[in-house]
C-alpha cells in the first residue's frame, strides 16, 4: 500500500472534521476523494502530509508512519495545493527550479527535470513570465509543475482545476493520466464528480468527514437503486397522464418542470421502450427524449439525501 489511513479523527473544537476515516491506496491507482466543499477532503490530505495535528488515528505512507521529519518519505511526495502556491517575484522557470531544488540536489538532474516539466505542462513559451502575467489556467499548470517537477512516486492534487477554463482543465486531466501511466500513484480530490469519474480508478465519497462509499465508479453506481434517468421534452401533458406514467413497471419517480418530464427508473430492462410506448399511446406531443445512466451525484444523492453540488 502506498497510503494507509486508519480511524483518522480530527476535531476543530466541537466540529468533527474527520470522523474515523479509513482508506488505503494501492500503487499505481488514481484515487479520487469526492465530496462537497467542507466535507474534509483537504483536511484529510493535510493530515496525510503531516501538516495538521489530528486527534486520533494512524497514517502510513510507503509503509512507514508519516511524521514531519520523515524527509525520505516527503522526498517521494508531490503536492499540488488547492490555492496556487508560487512566488510572484520568480518567473515560471525560476519557480519550478526553486521547488524542484528543494528535492533534488544534483544541479544537472534538476535542470533536466525542470525542462521536462516545462515541456510536460506546456509552459515553454511562458517560461520567463511572472505568475501575475499568466491566465488562471496557466497559473494552475504552473502550480502543478511546481508540485511534480521532482518526479514523485505519490502525487496529491487537491482540487487542481478550481476556476480553470475547460481547455486548461482537459489538459490538466490529460496530464494527470500521463503521470499515472508513467508510474505515479495519484490522490485526486475534487467536488467535480465528472472529473473524478473521468480519471479516477477508485473513488471514495466523503461527507462530513466520513467515508460513505468507496469503490470503482461502476461499483459505486451499482450500490444504488437508480438504474436510468429518462428525460422527455413536452409542452402538453396532463397531471393524470403523469400519474399513469408513474404506474409503469420500474418507474420510481416522475417530475414535470415545463417542458421537461424527468423519469427515474430502477434497474430493469426495457424502461425506455416502455416510456416511449406510453407516450405514443397517450398521444403526448414530445420533442427530444434521452436516457442517462446514474452519475456519482445520483450515488451521493441516494446515500446522503442531498445533492453533491449543495
Amino acid at each position: 500500500m502506498i497510503v494507509k489511513v486508519r480511524n483518522l479523527v480530527k476535531r476543530y473544537g466541537d466540529l468533527i472534521a474527520l470522523d474515523h476515516l479509513s482508506f488505503s491506496i494501492k500503487e499505481g491507482e488514481i484515487f479520487g476523494l469526492l465530496g462537497p466543499n467542507g466535507s474534509g477532503k483537504t483536511t484529510a490530505i493535510n493530515c496525510i502530509l503531516s501538516l495538521l495535528k489530528y486527534d486520533k488515528g494512524e497514517i502510513e505512507v510507503f509503509g512507514e508512519p508519516m511524521t514531519p521529519e520523515a524527509y525520505h518519505i516527503k522526498r517521494n511526495i508531490g503536492i499540488v495545493m488547492q490555492n496556487v502556491a508560487v512566488f510572484n517575484e520568480l518567473t515560471v522557470y525560476e519557480n519550478i527550479d526553486y521547488f524542484c531544488g528543494l528535492y533534488i540536489k544534483d544541479k544537472n538532474l534538476k535542470k533536466q527535470l525542470v525542462e521536462e516539466t516545462i515541456e510536460f505542462t506546456g509552459l515553454n513559451e511562458y517560461r520567463n513570465f511572472r505568475p501575475k502575467k499568466l491566465s488562471g489556467g496557466l497559473l494552475r499548470r504552473l502550480n502543478i509543475a511546481c508540485g511534480i517537477a521532482h518526479k514523485p512516486k505519490l502525487i496529491i492534487l487537491d482540487e487542481p482545476t478550481v476556476a480553470v477554463d475547460p481547455q486548461s482543465r482537459n489538459k490538466i486531466l490529460e496530464g494527470i493520466r500521463k503521470l499515472n501511466s508513467k508510474g505515479a500513484t495519484i490522490i485526486y480530490t475534487s467536488h467535480y464528480m465528472e472529473e473524478v469519474e473521468q480519471i479516477c480508478s477508485r473513488i471514495m465519497i466523503i461527507d462530513k468527514g466520513k467515508a460513505i462509499a468507496t469503490g470503482t465508479k461502476e461499483e459505486l453506481k451499482a450500490m444504488i437503486s437508480l438504474g436510468e434517468k429518462i428525460t422527455v421534452e413536452s409542452y402538453d401533458v396532463s397531471g393524470e397522464q403523469l400519474a399513469r406514467l408513474k404506474q409503469l413497471p420500474n418507474i420510481v419517480s416522475v417530475e414535470y418542470s415545463n417542458p421537461l418530464i424527468e423519469i427515474k427508473s430502477s434497474k430493469g430492462k426495457n424502461n425506455l421502450e416502455n416510456v416511449l410506448e406510453f407516450i405514443k399511446k397517450e398521444n403526448i406531443p414530445f420533442g427530444k427524449i434521452y436516457s442517462e445512466l446514474p452519475t456519482l451525484n445520483d450515488v451521493f444523492l441516494e446515500i446522503t439525501g442531498k445533492e453533491l453540488r449543495d
Binding site: L49, L51, L52, K53, P68, F99, Y103
Partner: protein, 378 residues
C-alpha cells in the same frame, strides 16, 4: 540547500517592489525631505556682527577707556560689532535707513539711540551696561584704595563658570542631525518588513506557499535561516546605501567613529528584521494588518524618539524613562547621538546592550513559535 534557498530568496526580495519601497525608497525620500526642510534650521541662529555707529566727537575721542573697549569689541573674527565713526547727523541717517541697529553717544552718561527694540539692540545695551558697571567699579576701587587695583583686575579676569565641561567626541552642536538619526533608526526598524515576509513564507498556517515549503524534505528552521540571511543581507546593503546617501550626499556628520556607527546600524537592522519576524509569527492576521502594525509601531517609536518634534524625546526621557528604554528607535537614535557628542562610550554601550537584548528576545520568541512542525488548523 542553503545556497539554493538563499539565492532564490535574494531574487524574490530584490524584486519585491513594496518591501524595497518601504525599506529603501521611503527612508531615502524622507531623508531628502528632511534635508530640504531642515537645512536652514540653525543657520538663522548663527551670530552676525551688529552694525553700529558711534558719534565721533571730542567726548568720544577723549574717553580713552570707552574708545578702547569699543574698538576691542569691533576687532577680529569674533567681533561683536561692525563699528562706523560718524557725526550725529550721519549716524541718525544710517539708523533711519536701517544700515545700523543703533548709535552711541559718549559722555558722562553713555547714550544709546535705537529705532526699535530687538535682540541686537538688547545686546548693544547689555554691552554698554556691562562697560559702565565695570568702569564704575574700577573707578571706585581706585578712588578708595588704589593698592587693590591689581586684585580687582585679576578678579575681573577670573569670572566663575557655572557650566560643567564634558569631554565631547568632537561633534559640533547641531539640532538637525537628531532628525536624521531618528530617520536611520526608523529605517533600521523597517527591516521588519523583511522579517515579516520570512515568517509568512515559512508558517504553513499563514500561507499556502509556506505549506508547500513545509511539505518539502527540508528542515523548517534551516529553510528559515537561509531565507532570513538573504533578508538580512539585503537590509544591510539598503541601510549602508541610505547611510552613505545621508553622509556623503546630504553631508550629515556622524562623527569620527565610523566603525561604531556601522555596528549600530548592523544591530539596529538585526533588531528590525527579527521584530518583523516575531510580529508576523505572533499576529495571525492578514498581511495588510501585519504591515499596518509594523508601520504603526515604527512610526510611533520614531515619533517618541523625536523624529517629528525633537523635544518629545527629552520629555519622554524625563517623565517616562521606561518608554525610552523599550523603544528600539529611541535606543538607536540615542546610540548615534552618544557616538556623535560624547567622548565616553558608556551611554552608547548601554543603548546597544539593551537593543541587543531586544534583538535576542525577538529572535528567541520567533524560534519558539516557528519550531512547531504540525498545526492545529490551516
Amino acid at each position: 540547500m542553503f545556497a539554493h534557498i538563499f539565492m532564490n530568496r535574494l531574487r524574490c526580495l530584490l524584486r519585491d517592489k513594496e518591501t524595497i519601497f518601504w525599506t529603501f525608497a521611503f527612508p531615502l525620500a524622507l531623508s531628502l525631505f528632511f534635508y530640504l526642510a531642515l537645512s536652514n534650521i540653525g543657520k538663522g541662529e548663527t551670530f552676525q556682527e551688529i552694525d553700529i555707529a558711534v558719534v565721533n566727537d571730542s567726548r568720544y575721542q577723549e574717553d580713552l577707556y570707552f574708545k578702547t573697549a569699543l574698538e576691542e569689541a569691533s576687532k577680529g573674527e569674533d567681533r561683536l560689532f561692525d563699528l562706523t565713526l560718524a557725526t550725529e547727523e550721519e549716524a541718525g541717517k544710517l539708523l533711519e535707513n536701517g544700515s545700523i541697529k543703533g548709535y552711541i553717544k559718549a559722555g558722562d552718561q553713555i547714550e544709546l539711540v535705537v529705532k526699535e527694540s530687538g535682540m541686537y539692540q538688547s545686546i548693544i545695551k547689555s554691552f554698554l551696561d556691562n562697560y559702565s558697571q565695570t568702569f564704575k567699579a574700577v573707578e571706585t576701587v581706585l578712588r578708595n584704595d588704589p593698592k587693590k587695583y591689581q586684585e580687582v583686575m585679576e578678579s575681573l579676569k577670573d569670572r566663575k563658570n557655572y557650566v560643567k565641561e564634558v569631554p565631547t567626541a568632537g561633534g559640533k552642536p547641531d539640532i538637525v542631525i537628531n532628525y536624521f538619526y531618528t530617520l536611520i533608526a526608523m529605517a533600521c526598524m523597517y527591516g521588519s518588513f523583511f522579517g515579516m515576509r520570512e515568517t509568512s513564507d515559512i508558517q504553513a498556517d499563514i500561507s499556502p506557499l509556506a505549506a508547500r515549503i513545509n511539505i518539502a524534505p527540508v528542515h523548517k528552521l534551516k529553510a528559515f535561516l537561509s531565507s532570513i540571511c538573504a533578508s538580512m543581507l539585503i537590509h544591510l546593503v539598503v541601510m549602508l546605501a541610505l547611510l552613505g546617501f545621508i553622509r556623503y550626499v546630504l553631508n550629515i556628520d556622524f562623527g569620527p567613529r565610523t566603525g561604531y556607527v556601522l555596528l549600530t546600524m548592523v544591530i539596529g537592522s538585526i533588531t528590525g528584521v527579527f521584530f518583523g519576524a516575531f510580529v508576523s509569527a505572533l499576529v495571525k492576521k492578514s498581511e495588510g494588518i501585519k504591515v499596518a502594525v509594523l508601520i504603526g509601531v515604527s512610526m510611533l517609536g520614531s515619533f517618541l524618539a523625536g523624529m517629528m518634534y525633537i523635544d518629545i524625546k527629552y520629555l519622554i526621557s524625563m517623565n517616562v524613562p521606561f518608554l525610552s528604554w523599550i523603544n528600539p528607535v529611541n535606543l538607536l537614535t540615542d546610540a548615534f547621538y552618544s557616538l556623535y557628542y560624547l567622548d565616553d562610550l558608556s551611554r552608547y554601550a548601554l543603548n546597544i546592550g539593551v537593543l541587543s537584548g531586544f534583538a535576542t528576545l525577538f529572535c528567541v520568541l520567533t524560534y519558539l513559535i516557528l519550531r512547531r512542525r504540525k498545526y492545529a488548523g490551516l
